[in-house]
Amino acid sequence: MYFIDAASKSINKAGEELCGDHVEYINLVDSKILVLSDGLGSGVKANILATLTSKIAATMLKEGATIEETVDTIVHTLPICRERHLAYSTFTIIRVFNDGRAYIAEFDSPSVFVVKNGERVELKKVKKTINNKQIYESSFTLDKDSLLVAVSDGVIHAGVGHSLALGWQWKNICKFLQEIDKNAESKQVVDAVLDKCREYYENEAGDDATAIAVKIRKQETINLFTGPPKDPDKDYEIIKKILQAEGKVVVCGGTSSSIVARTLGVEMEVDLSTMTVDIPPVGIIKGIELVTEGVITIGKALDIMKDFMSVSMHRKAEKNMQEKNAAAMLATLLIERCDNLNLWVGQAVNPVHQRGNYPMDFQFKMNQIKELASVVENMGKKVNIIYI
């Protein structure tokens, strides 16, 4: 079983507030579906066409519809442009299963790129005609050294009218991808491609440009320990068990981190440079991936994760994740580097938290953990709660 590391990003045509490209993601138990669609024209109209196309495709495929049914529905649903008498939007459908199998369907979009260890991999494509539209299907298997990239034509044409007479062009993009560090994550690949686009367009993109990258890697597990165990006599025993569990360890909570430091027999340092008015700073314990305060930090990380999953707030979340504070680090870790989350939830009650004037009592904490579990599950990850 692999983790499917997929990322996408768009830049808008200069002067446009809306992007005419749209990427729709669907997380399923056994696979991820990504649909990139490029709507005719630019601005609002293109945005609506692209959004409709990718949403219809992703939703129908998720529900088990065939590619024929999906294309047929798209063709009959898209509104017709008054100027061009056309309802048109290209698409690239990518479905990657967590055993590495990949299925791709392309309609009028630039051919996808597959690169393995710096070499281009050629795909066998099968042409299918559906409603007079030519769809190219291909199936192959990704491994941990392969990179799959799809772009909209705004990337292919990057630089036209600016630095490059003929634009970036498919073969040059392929070369660029062959030279990308093979350990780069999908997000870094997408950033590299779009940075290059911006450079060629001299920051005045002539068209919406979007890139999607997909890689697979071994699944990663995080053990998040929060709240001291119910029975203090068992602290040592339980912490040992958590530290020996497979995967990384994250500790959220003041007392919890003191217990971990004591068990390991080390001193904990606090990195004051990460302190903000709203979020307590991170602690440093050797061997522990991340150490934070508990209820406040988890609450702020939850806000970021919920924003990340919302269409309208996604950008804000991405910006927040760049910040150097405990909540941003926790959210980033859970979003980007976690496939299986074990929540080790201590049941000890801090009597001071139970007084009426403290807003975050035991019940609040337990509800917060349940919310965390459900948000992380909605991202397509596996969550396991262990009460200790």
Partner: protein, 81 residues
């Protein structure tokens, strides 16, 4: 060199330990104690009852933003001068 440890656990954070850390840093700087005192943060000092907890010379004190200056003058100063 002595440490002044300010708790930044949940309860202390909510009672503005952030402001206390910043104020103590200002006081250390303005009094020229940089080579004698270091303000550090600590995770839960275990006395949430007395938040905000500040540990100095192995004693845990209760300090609030409005009592920070007084705490510095009465408790810290005499031990470093």
């Amino acid at each position: 060199m002595k440490d002044i440890q300010v708790c930044i656990g949940s309860v202390c954070h909510l009672k503005n330990s952030y402001d206390i850390i910043n104020r103590l840093n200002e006081l250390v700087n303005s009094n020229g104690y940089n080579d004698k005192l270091k303000v550090k943060a600590a995770f839960c000092l275990g006395n949430c009852e007395g938040a905000v907890c500040v540990k100095f010379d192995d004693v845990i004190y209760t300090v609030l933003p409005e009592t920070t200056d007084k705490f510095f003058d009465e408790t810290i100063r005499s031990k470093v001068d």
